[in-house]
């Protein structure tokens, strides 16, 4: 079984769109959405990365181009090496990638999670439903524009919400969780603070 760096070189030779991805640990490649299944299949077959360890959606922030990526980590049960495969979603408004469920049935739940948390759709997925949040939940919580406190929404059982007028509410953020400013050091801004200070007990939340 060839070691993982050879696999990256072979992929770059075989697919014109595949480029090496900056990485601090494992070999990593960027793959265009159209080549994704081919590359994953080649890694699984010819290069022996037979186990899908993880699938992670990433939101690079509002306004980032492209905004959404999906990062796959594959593991080889024979050479015990990892490889990272990242693919950007072509459309920011309707992010979509092909589903890897045909290669690994274990991708099913991982892709449902990425759909649930980021709204990334996977074409060809047999059962693309929400997995952690409830069916009918209207938001994608791990997107960067979703507030840490959460947003008001109906309960999973809409009938109960209609009858009682009770829904889920945003978490009170007074007193924490604390965050620190990143990047440029400014002692005034380095004080711990609640991330969203635009509202508190006395001042209502904007838009609520």
């Amino acid at each position: 079984m060839p070691p993982a760096p050879d696999a990256v070189a072979a992929l770059k030779g075989g697919w014109a769109g595949v480029t090496e991805r900056a990485s601090l640990d494992h070999p990593a490649v960027n793959v265009p959405a159209a080549d994704l299944l081919g590359v994953l299949g080649a890694l699984k077959g010819a290069h022996g990365f037979d186990m899908l360890a993880d699938v992670a959606g990433v939101d690079w922030g509002e306004g980032a181009k492209p905004r959404f990526s999906v990062v796959y980590h594959l593991f080889s049960t024979s050479t015990h090496a990892y490889v990272r495969v990242a693919s950007d979603c072509p459309l920011d408004s309707a992010p979509e990638l092909p589903s890897a469920t045909g290669l690994w049935p274990g991708a099913n739940w991982h892709e449902r999670e990425a759909f649930d948390m980021f709204g990334i759709r996977f074409a060809g997925h047999p059962d693309l439903r929400r997995i952690i949040m409830w069916d009918g939940y209207a938001h994608y919580p791990l997107r960067k524009d979703f507030p840490l406190a959460g947003v008001e929404s109906a309960l999973p059982d809409a009938e109960i919400t209609a009858e009682t007028g009770v829904g889920t509410i945003a978490a009170p953020m007074m007193g924490g969780p604390f965050v620190a400013s990143t990047g440029q050091m400014n002692m005034g801004e380095a004080e711990p603070r609640a991330k969203d200070e635009s509202w508190n007990e006395r001042r209502p939340k904007p838009g609520a």
Binding site: A22, S23, L24, D25, H26, A28, D50, M51, L52, A53, D54, A56, V58, D59, V71, H73, F75, T77, H80, Y82, R84, W104, P105, G106, N108, W109, E113, M117, I131, I132, M133, W134, P141, L142, F146, L148, G150, P177, F178, V179, A180, S181, T182, G183, M185, A190, E191, P192, K195
Partner: protein
């Protein structure tokens, strides 16, 4: 023999006794005693036989990954306690190593040894609970009482070391929060010595127990191929005969120094998964005793990394340099370079992975947690079909999942 009952084949074809039988849909959980937390399985039954199983998860979702993006690296350590809350020390270590990889930071050998000892103690504690709960699920109550007696002794040791029995929050980025207290290593060794005969007594209650064997052998068989295809890890993978153990295959925290065997099953059934866990506890004792015997001197955190590790508390209020350093680390967080790392540790439940995306600074841009219980449960829709309802209980018990980790 449970394997020979006549129903599964006919159930797979969707018929029972030659005619289309009526299907019954029931919810197992989220507060069923055998679902160990808040797992719900939506079962479709044909008589006693499961024709469809749809696990419904998320009841314990707390948004850990969202929270991680909004706090510094050290502040997230207590949240890792609450992933697999039966082995918090192992989670603390896996998370710390992942972030240290990002910073390219080496921790001193003493810190590595402490982490190995605590992680293996956590493994014993987790497997003891898994075993006790599995026993209850299939009708062997006594086991639980024995295993919890042993766990209590471990909790005493955890409390001495970390100050907490359950939610330990012991690791820091670049080390551990404090050194081992005087005499603690001897007490760990003494625990190991008395634990081995007690473990044999517990395992003797089950290993050749006719009822237990009938309830578990041949039940919930996972083939090697399926185990790999579904991304199973830990004892559930090794129970199917795949000798994969990250402590051996990709050693971290100095595991390569210790001599231990990887327990592997042959049939991939519930009984094999039980046997693997039993043997893993014996091997954990071996590792702990080796680590205690050659416990290295030195520091317990990488004090030289001044932008990552907080200074010693006695220096903070007496020295200006350390005061500033402490202030910076508390407010800004440990300073990390931009980049991506992925690290998996061999936790009691399987491979716990952290994918850290950093844009620099003290807060991760994205922290993806690869929860072994999540992956292990994803095989349920396949595993449950054709089983009897009572077998579901034995299957769940043998998979030994924890929902805190699955739902995050």
């Amino acid at each position: 023999m449970p394997t020979e009952h006549a129903f599964p084949d006919s159930a797979a074809k969707g018929t029972l006794g030659g005619s289309d039988a009526e299907r019954l849909s029931i919810s197992m959980g989220p507060s069923h005693p055998s679902t160990h937390g808040v797992l719900r399985i939506q079962l479709e039954l044909d008589g006693e036989v499961v024709t469809k199983a749809d696990p419904v998860i998320g009841y314990l979702h707390r948004g850990d990954e969202k929270i991680a993006e909004n706090m510094t690296y050290n502040q997230f350590v207590p949240y890792t306690d609450r992933l697999d809350y039966l082995a918090p020390l192992a989670n603390n270590m896996a998370y710390a190593i992942a972030v240290e990889k990002l910073a390219k930071l080496e921790v001193p050998p003493r810190c590595q040894a402490i982490r190995v000892i605590t992680a293996e103690m956590a493994r014993i504690s987790s497997h003891l609970l898994g075993l006790g709960a599995f026993g209850i699920d299939v009708g062997a109550w006594t086991v639980f009482l024995y295993t919890f007696t042993e766990r209590e002794k471990l909790y005493k040791l955890f409390e001495e070391l970390t100050g907490a029995r359950f939610t330990t929050s012991y690791s820091r980025i670049g080390g551990v929060s404090r050194d081992v207290p005087p005499g603690w290593l001897e007490r760990v060794d003494a625990f190991c010595v008395q634990f081995l005969p007690n473990l044999e007594e517990v395992l003797n209650l089950l290993t050749r127990n006719k009822i237990f064997m009938d309830r578990t052998s041949g039940i919930g068989v996972i083939s090697k191929e399926d185990a790999i295809a579904y991304g199973l890890t830990g004892p559930n993978l090794r129970g199917s005969g795949v000798p994969l153990d990250l402590r051996k295959d990709r050693p971290y925290s100095g595991y390569e120094q210790y001599d231990f065997d990887v327990a592997v099953g042959t049939q991939g059934d519930s009984y094999d998964r039980y046997l693997v866990r039993g043997e893993e506890m014996r091997q954990s004792v071996r590792i702990i005793r080796q680590a205690v015997a050659k416990f290295p001197p030195g520091k317990w955190c990488a004090e030289d990394a001044r932008r990552i590790v907080a200074p010693r508390k006695d220096k903070v209020l007496t020295s200006m340099e350390e005061l500033i350093q402490n202030f910076m680390i508390v407010t800004e967080g440990p300073q990390m370079p931009p980049g991506e790392v992925y690290f998996e540790a061999e936790n009691p439940k399987g491979a716990l992975g952290f994918f850290v995306v950093s844009k620099g600074g003290g807060v991760p841009w994205r922290l993806k947690i690869r929860a072994p219980s999540f992956c292990n449960l994803s095989i349920l829709p396949k595993l449950c079909v054709g089983a009897m309802v009572a077998d579901i209980v034995a299957i769940l018990g043998s998979l030994d999942f924890v929902m805190g980790e699955c739902d995050r």
